[in-house]
């Protein structure tokens, strides 16, 4: 869990080259992100949409666990809340998807803040324990009779994915699947931008200081309690937005889509992608979606076993995940010592 490596000298010495390089990276990223719109069939495009959504969920987890050091094994709960808020508002109250999104974010943020309060008193392992039990209990809570009028109980809720708006369809031919992918991409990009701005500034440094040395951080005047609870709120908000997007993309929510395995996958995705790495969350999302699909072709039990083995191997061999590997390879190619 080392601090983020920065190369201030490079940016200061050659600002123009750095801007050009950044622009090139941005263009490349944009091309890679948009190419699937034309290249992929609708099912694979749907899968990629889910990968984008999962990477957003992993990003949320990374903020509280990676950057702030509060281990959460229960982020599937926030994902579920986000999904259900959107589904209930759309299916029961006929809201448009766009109107439900800020609502889902706000509710998840509040729940996250509320979970963050008892979490303040719990050190590492105990917090993992509590969030683990939250993850296990979530499907039961969603199935409960008192909520059945809203949640549709075991049967779940059906909803429709947002239609592409008229001004867009008038100009380009775009299917609902393509539009959903675009929508997920835009929302995810906004959240990534938000997270990136949060992490690279004063607050991000404070979050990491709180994680690495709480006593010193407190001695330097940081309000640990406020930082930790707000980190939880932001994290839950982002994961909740991912959940809301997933409800729209899948067009269906049911309690058994949010078992504790979802929370575990997010955790595995975070570790494999790279703990405390924004870029790592992207890899994490891709991993969470595609590796189980590949493994499932071997056996029903295979995804779990492969997940577990990959998780342990990464912790032993590559503790900074794929993102760390990429960073080192790039540094090597650029002729700099890693």
């Amino acid at each position: 869990m080392s601090a983020i490596q920065e190369t201030p000298g490079l940016a200061a010495a050659a600002p123009r080259a750095s801007v050009a390089r950044r622009g090139a990276w941005l263009a490349l990223g944009l091309a890679v992100a948009l190419a699937p719109l034309w290249l992929l069939e609708s099912f694979h495009l749907f899968q990629l949409t889910m990968a984008v959504i999962m990477s957003l969920a992993v990003l949320g987890l990374n903020i509280v666990t990676g950057y702030n050091g509060q281990i959460s094994l229960g982020h599937g709960a926030f994902f579920a809340i986000g999904a259900y808020v959107t589904a209930i508002l759309m299916a029961q109250a006929d809201w448009s998807f766009y109107a439900t999104l800020p609502f889902a974010a706000a509710i998840c943020g509040m729940v996250g803040y509320a979970v963050g309060l008892p979490a303040l008193r719990l050190g590492g392992l105990y917090l993992a324990l509590v969030t683990f039990s939250l993850a296990v209990a979530v499907p039961q809570l969603l199935k409960h009779r008192a909520l059945e009028g809203w949640t549709g109980g075991v049967q779940g809720l059906f909803l429709m994915k947002p239609e592409p708006p008229a001004w867009l369809t008038a100009r380009v031919a775009i299917t609902p699947d393509q539009f959903m992918y675009l929508l997920a991409l835009v929302v995810a990009a906004l959240c990534y931008l938000l997270a990136w701005n949060l992490i690279r500034g004063r607050i991000g440094r404070a979050l990491m200081a709180t994680r690495d040395h709480p006593t010193a951080a407190e001695a330097m005047g940081m309000d640990i309690a406020a930082l930790k609870t707000r980190a939880f709120a932001v994290s839950a908000m982002i994961t909740g937005v991912a959940g809301a997007l997933s409800a729209a993309a899948v067009e269906f929510v049911a309690p058994d889509s949010f078992t504790f395995l979802l929370s575990i996958s997010l955790f595995v995705g975070m570790v494999v992608g790279g703990v405390a790495s924004i870029l790592g969350s992207v890899f994490g999302g891709l991993f969470v979606l595609f590796v189980p699909n590949i493994a499932e072709s071997i056996s029903r039990a295979a995804p779990g076993v492969i997940y577990g083995i990959i998780l342990i191997v990464f912790l032993f061999v590559l503790p900074d995940g794929v993102a760390g590997l990429v960073r080192r390879v790039l540094a090597r190619l650029g002729g700099r010592a890693p």
Binding site: G69, R121, G124, L125, Y126, V130, S133
Partner: protein, 290 residues
């Protein structure tokens, strides 16, 4: 009133199971100051091994003993091969490794032994309902076994020099090493013992809930709750906590929240204990100076 007594008795019976898993968790905590999330999966695997022995034609208690031995070796091996390399890693790594083991062991069990639920024999068949029809023979027997294990563990820790050495190794590894205790052997021993105790819990619970690879997930949660309620550093406390959680769960399920929300009872107990009285009912209050 009869219904209430029946619920109470059923609670004590399931509480016995929680108590033995809680005991296994506390054993690991005693030896390493960590909580093993894979404890339930390890116990399930042990129970499947026991079933294999029984189906091969061994008498129940021979299979029981053999399973204890196999589980002990399995626990010690896990410590040696998987936990040892990350001994000094940050806590996130430990949690990750536990989760990884949970996934691997749980799914391998399903892969090898299949996902169909199986009937597991009880050594306490026959005899019919006891104590005025409140408890079945198996329930009474499993409570007895849990208490027996507790007494053995207690005697081991307080009356034998090996138990003393284990406590010393966990309490203060550096000083323990200085007086000639082999701390790493003690760690492996602690893991082995915990796995063996877990396997007892598995074999006692399987006749009640039937054996399948996911048998232990809910039970693990109640066991966590029990261990925390009784005090995570106190074996008798954990057993008392396990029984208490069993009774609370059954009474709350019958009279307050309904059976669908039983798991949430465990969640509420865990959060409640950690927030209101983190040391548990019988635990030692630990102060740390910064």
């Amino acid at each position: 009133m009869d219904a209430f007594l029946l619920q109470l008795a059923a609670g004590i019976a399931t509480g016995g199971i929680y108590a033995s898993v809680a005991l296994a968790i506390v054993m690991i905590y005693q030896a390493t100051h960590h909580v093993n999330f894979a404890q339930g999966e390890m116990a399930t695997l042990s129970t499947f091994i026991a079933l294999t022995f029984i189906q091969a034609g061994f008498p129940y208690w021979v299979a029981f003993g053999a399973t204890l031995a196999v589980s002990f070796v399995m626990g010690a091996l896990v410590e040696r091969l998987i936990m040892r390399p990350v001994q000094h890693a940050p806590i996130l790594t430990h949690v990750g490794v536990y989760i990884g083991m949970l996934l691997i062991i749980g799914n391998l069990t399903g892969w090898v032994f299949g996902y169909t639920t199986k009937v597991f024999p009880s050594p306490f068949e026959g005899g019919g309902p006891m104590l005025g029809g409140l408890l079945s023979a198996h329930q009474l027997g499993s409570v007895g076994v849990t208490l027996g294990v507790l007494v053995l563990v207690y005697l081991f820790f307080t009356k034998t020099s090996l138990g003393l050495a284990m406590r010393a190794a966990a309490y203060n590894p550096r000083s323990a090493r200085l007086v000639g205790i082999r701390v790493d052997v003690m760690l492996a021993l602690g893991w082995g013992l915990a796995a063996a105790i877990g396997s007892v819990a598995g074999m006692m619970v399987a006749p009640i809930v039937f054996l399948d690879p996911n048998m232990m997930l809910g039970i693990l949660l109640y066991a966590f709750a029990g261990a925390l309620l009784g005090g995570i550093d106190n074996p008798p406390g954990a057993v008392a906590g396990g029984f208490l959680v069993g009774v609370l769960e059954n009474l709350a399920g019958a009279y307050i929240v309904g059976t669908e929300l039983k798991l949430s009872v465990a969640l509420v107990i865990i959060i409640g204990v950690l927030v209101l009285k983190p040391s548990g009912l019988f635990g030692r209050v630990v102060f740390s100076r910064v």
